[in-house]
């Protein structure tokens, strides 16, 4: 299922195709009086070929939403689809295969296996799957993220920004239907962070990749096509074609709310 993220399922007149979808998803921890709702009846669709950011203050449930969308975490109720596949209720084995073949991940830190070189880290998902990487595509990806000179290096020989770029390259290399990023620039300084975000942006624009990114950084979120705002486990707002200032304003609103509530 290494389809490039080109609109296939919908005609030109139809609504934008959806790469992932949450339908009335509730995620609860604990039970009875001590029950905490991390997600409260959230429904959201992630558009294909777009860069979506999920924002919200700490404890808003943004990471939980991403984990549920990516099949890393189970939901208490509701359904989650990746493409046309409903993943809620899928067996662990199928979920693993789905993650391997259809999803790419970029985490905040510890993205790479310290024992493998950059190149080996990039092709790891395909190696695990036992598929051959597309050489040409791999070169494109590696050039896009600007790593060609560093492929033989171990992660501990790379800077933080370079490590995250390797992670981006790994996520892109297998041409997944969707890439999830969990604060991918959270550990980087602003320059290195900007570089990584530019690569993500370019991979959406040039390569047609679908990306969902969780972040609390307005500057990072401004690279997205659309921002979904979460607070207290609910989607509270949405913003298209954001700018850092607009996002900051919106976030200030939440902060004020958060302080009063």
């Amino acid at each position: 299922m290494t389809t490039p993220a080109v609109d296939e399922t919908n005609g030109p007149s139809g609504p934008p195709a959806v790469a992932a979808r949450a339908d009335n998803v509730t995620k609860a921890y604990g039970a009875g009086d001590t029950q905490v709702l991390a997600l409260d009846q959230v429904s959201v669709g992630i558009d294909k070929g777009a860069f979506t950011a999920i924002m919200g203050p700490s404890g808003s449930g943004k990471s939980t939403l991403m984990h549920c969308l990516a099949g890393l975490d189970s939901v208490t109720s509701g359904q989650v689809w990746i493409g046309d596949t409903e993943i809620t209720g899928l067996k662990e084995k199928h979920l693993t295969r789905l993650r391997r073949d259809n999803i790419g991940f970029i985490f905040q830190a510890f993205n790479l296996l310290p024992t493998l070189t950059a190149a080996e880290n990039i092709t790891l998902p395909m190696d695990i799957a036992g598929t051959k990487p597309d050489k040409e595509w791999l070169d494109t990806v590696v050039n896009t993220v600007g790593l060609s000179g560093r492929l033989g290096h171990r992660p501990n020989q790379l800077s933080g920004g370079q490590q995250q770029r390797v992670a981006v390259a790994r996520a892109l290399a297998s041409r997944p239907e969707i890439i999830f990023g969990d604060e991918p620039t959270g550990n980087l300084d602003s320059r290195a962070g900007a570089e990584v975000l530019q690569f993500l942006r370019r991979s959406v624009d040039d390569l047609g990749q679908t990306i969902v990114m969780v972040t609390h950084d307005p500057v990072a979120a401004a690279y997205a096509d659309r921002i979904v705002f979460l607070a207290d486990g609910r989607i509270v707002d949405e913003m298209f074609s954001p700018t850092a200032d607009k996002v900051l304003d919106r976030m200030r609103g939440f902060d004020a709310q958060g302080r009063t509530s």
Binding site: H67, L72, D73, E92, K93, T96, R97, R99, R100, D101, I103, G104, F105, F107, Q108, A109, F110, N111, L112, L113, P114, T115, L116, E120, L124, P125, D127, I128, A129, G130, R154, N156, R170, E183
Partner: protein, 858 residues
């Protein structure tokens, strides 16, 4: 929070990670304590037996130094004259003197022509029933044996053989074979030491065991008005003979205890040696555990340092954790040791040696030794990790937790290890250059120690190359999972090296013993081929000499062209220069040169066996300045002093069996009365031309009268040696199993801790699509690679040790080198299985890990 408090919290917080190290300590300490308790309990059991049975004064022949010395070779025990009991009874202060005749050279045969009695090597004892027996036996059931043809047996023998009152036993003794009706059965009041006892009346015992009117021991009880020492002096004065030893009860008990104590000391030291090996292996486990715990806590320790904890405090906090581990492990070990001792006693009971748990002897020294040992070893092992912890800088708190993988085995360490290994190997090689046993043993011992220490130190430096080679062969088929496993095994060479070293020790011992064992078997069979000309060798299965009746029957079997007895006869030899020494002679018939070839450096075997002649070994001849033609003054045991001529000198290292001092039966008979002639422990026979099968049938028939006799041809004889060596090896492997179990725990421990350490890595791999099955396989492969690395080191070192040992033993005649390929292959397969087994739990746990927890940022 004080340092101690932190240590306590850490210890209990990580108790799961400590379990395996604790088990290593527990197992080793249990083995030590179990050994001490078991041997002490055995000793107590026998001490009780001696002290209960002893009379105030014990009188025995001067030659019978203690009951555990090798008996008289004639099969007739040394005895006191029959008149002695009356002489002693006349002594003032003596209440009663009880004469006892006791001999172990009897065989009891049941109605089905099978041996009745212990199968474990413990003796069958023939003895006359007297009141002194009631000190260790219950009241007999049935009737006491009266006159010839009646016996009473002990209850344990009765129940194990299924015989009882009214059944018939056939008893073979030095004087002949007769049938006896069992008239009574008597149970042990104390612990049965494992022997079978057959009681006769006094006259019968004297007649069949001694063939004379005499006693082997006189139990002298005082009338209570005199001290034991005083009574001893009076008895001594009354018998007034150099041939008699008179001891007080205390002296008697002490003497027997000492004699037995030597046996138990040997058992104790052998078992303790194996316990030490496993303790040594345990050290690796503890070092690895603490190293990994310290590595995992780097940031925490850095924080402690940042807020003002001193190096010393950090160092101490780790050592306190080790102390706790040592205390827990050792105390549990002591308790487990008690259980082990009870278990061993139960095992002994199953083979006939009943030791009562009432006698369980636990001196304060046992827990003290065990616990001090366990704690010391744990602290020593934790010392280096603790020092490393102390060196962690406050900066570590601020940096990302050091991801292991960049830990390079120190160059200096590698250089030292390499140097030690090379010097050790050179010492081993030096063994081949000398013909002297003394320096050669020194080389082997030094080489063993240096290569062991050297390899342990050097192992991390070898991880890179050896693991790569192993992986390229083994893991090729496993694709990326194999590659990940290889990288994981390579990432921390010191850890992999330490884990493998633990396994290496046990496997090196197994391999070197296998080399020695297989070389021993082949050397022996080569010697048999070269030296033995006899078609048949007849011996008893329990190593007792062959009784006269059976020997006669064998000598007279049909289709034999010749037979030769093979006896061993102790003697005192005086050289022309007046030097006196003890020498055991191989006493054989004139036909012996046809049965066995003995290489002579001067003269021939025939000349050694000519009337009035003996041979002497080359070494002795040189030392004493004795040449062919010289006359030696020789007193054979139980004989008169005589003068014999050196007829030949035996070349060094040429004797296949027995002693290099040969003489003929006829020569010995000249100076030794018939009663004192030794019984043959082997009879060799040569079949008539072309009548081998017939001769065998005839010998088997002759041997049929005594079920313990075994007729063996050369092939059987080789097989017997092979089996004996095999049994010895298996016993040793069994004892080494403990060390190997501890090493396996070490592999489990390393894997389990590294799985914990790699939680986030595993989570990442699972997130990007590594299946549980692949993850488990990765850990299993890593484990197999580590285990095989240990096997490569162990087998390599074991071969070197084995080769050197064989070179050393070649001087003693073990000159054929055979490499035990089968064992080596088994070691490798076993190591791979150990790897799989060790990965079972860690792999399962890694598979169960929650991905979200694993990838969650701190």
């Amino acid at each position: 929070m004080s340092v101690v408090k932190t240590s306590l919290r850490n210890f209990f917080a990580h108790k799961g990670r400590m379990i395996l190290s604790g088990m290593a300590v527990t197992l080793s300490v249990a083995f030590v304590c179990g050994t001490l308790v078991f041997t002490a309990t055995m000793q107590t059991t026998f001490d009780k037996l001696f002290s209960q049975s002893a009379s105030n004064v014990m009188v025995s022949p001067a030659t019978a130094e203690s009951s555990f010395e090798e008996g008289n070779p004639s099969g007739r025990p040394d005895s006191l004259p029959g008149s002695i009991v009356d002489d002693i009874e006349a002594v003032d202060g003596v209440e009663t003197a009880t004469g006892v005749v006791e001999s172990t050279s009897i065989v009891a045969i049941g109605p089905d022509n099978d041996t009745v009695g212990p199968t474990t090597g413990a003796p069958t004892i023939g003895i006359n029933w007297s009141d002194v027996e009631l000190r260790i036996m219950e009241e007999p059931e049935g009737a006491l044996p009266q006159g010839p043809g009646e016996v009473m047996i002990d209850g344990d023998t009765a129940s194990s053989s299924g015989l009882g009152i009214g059944d018939t036993l056939s008893i073979v003794s030095v004087t002949g074979t007769s049938d006896y009706a069992i008239t009574g059965v008597v149970d042990f009041a104390t612990t049965n030491p494992g022997a079978s006892i057959v009681y006769f009346d006094l006259a019968t015992a004297q007649e069949i065991l001694l063939g004379a009117d005499g006693f082997t021991t006189v139990y002298v009880d005082s009338d209570g008005n005199v001290s034991d020492a005083e009574l001893r002096d009076r008895v001594e004065a009354a018998v007034d003979s150099d041939d008699v030893r008179v001891l007080t009860a205390d002296e008697f008990i002490q003497e027997n205890q000492d004699a037995l104590g030597e046996v138990f000391d040997i058992i104790r030291y052998v078992l303790l040696a194996f316990a030490m090996i496993s303790l040594l292996v345990g050290v690796f486990l503890i070092v690895n555990t603490f190293t990994m715990l310290v590595a995992q806590r780097t940031r925490e320790i850095g924080l402690f340092r940042a807020i003002g904890a001193s190096r010393k405090q950090i160092n101490r906090s780790v050592l306190i954790e080790a102390l706790l581990l040592g205390v827990f492990g050792s105390v549990l070990g002591f308790l487990a040791g008690l259980g082990l001792a009870v278990g061993l006693m139960a095992l002994m009971g199953a083979i006939g040696l009943n030791i009562s748990t009432d006698d369980l002897t636990v001196s304060a020294a046992v827990p003290i030794t065990g616990i001090v040992l366990g704690i010391t070893v744990t602290l020593v092992a934790a010392y280096f990790p603790a020092r490393r912890a102390g060196k962690i800088t406050p900066m570590a708190a601020l940096q990302d937790a050091g991801i292991p993988g960049d830990v390079r085995a120190g160059r200096i360490r590698a250089a030292i290890g390499g140097l030690l290994t090379v010097v050790g190997a050179l010492l081993l090689v030096l063994t081949t250059t000398t013909d002297e046993v003394g320096p050669a043993s020194g080389y082997v011992a030094g080489g063993l120690l240096l290569t062991l220490v050297g390899m342990v130190v050097f192992a991390p430096a070898l991880v890179g190359s050896v693991v790569k080679v192993l992986s390229s062969v083994l893991l090729r088929g496993f694709g990326p999972v194999g590659r990940l496993a290889e990288r994981n095994a390579l990432r921390n060479p010191r850890r992999t090296g330490g884990t493998a070293s633990a396994l290496m020790i046990g496997l090196a011992l197994v391999t070197s013993l296998a080399v020695v064992g297989s070389s021993m078997i082949s050397s022996a069979s080569k010697q048999i081929d070269e030296a033995i000309g006899a078609d048949f060798m007849i011996q008893t299965s329990n190593w007792q000499p062959i009784p006269p009746d059976a020997a006669d029957a064998l000598r007279n079997a049909d289709h034999l062209s010749a037979t030769s007895d093979f006896m061993l006869m102790p003697a005192q030899v005086t050289t022309p220069d007046g030097e006196t020494y003890e020498q055991s002679f191989s006493v054989v018939d004139e036909s012996f040169p046809d049965m066995m070839r003995v290489e002579m450096s001067e003269g021939s075997l025939g000349e050694a066996l000519a009337p009035g002649n003996v041979s002497i070994d080359a070494g002795r001849a040189e030392r004493e300045g004795v040449e062919v033609g010289d006359e030696l003054t020789i007193t054979f045991r139980g004989g008169e002093e005589t003068t014999l001529t050196v007829g030949a000198i035996v070349a060094p290292g040429s004797e296949a069996e027995g002693s290099p001092a040969y003489t003929s039966v006829a020569t010995v008979a000249e100076s030794v009365p018939e009663d004192a002639m030794p019984l043959p422990w082997m009879i060799m026979a040569l079949a008539d031309e072309g009548m081998v099968d017939e001769a065998r049938a005839s010998l088997e028939e002759a041997a049929g009268a005594l079920p313990t006799l075994e007729v063996r041809d050369q092939a059987d004889y080789k097989k017997m040696i092979e089996e004996q060596v095999g049994q010895l090896l298996n016993m040793t492997y069994g004892l080494l199993a403990l060390a190997i179990i501890v090493a396996i725990l070490g592999v489990v421990n390393t894997l389990a801790l590294s799985v914990v350490e790699r939680t986030r890595e595993i989570g990442l791999m699972r997130a990007i699509g590594l299946s549980r099955r692949q993850l488990r396989r990765m850990i299993r492969l890593e484990s197999v690679v580590i285990a095989l690395f240990g096997a490569v080191l162990g087998v390599g070192m074991g071969l070197a040790w084995g080769l050197a040992a064989q070179q050393l033993l070649a001087m003693e005649g073990m000159d054929v080198l055979v490499l035990p390929w089968a064992t080596i292959i088994v070691v490798f397969i076993g190591a791979a299985l150990v790897g799989l087994l060790a990965a079972l739990v860690p792999a399962f746990r890694a598979g169960r890990m929650n991905i979200l927890n694993a990838i969650a940022t701190e």
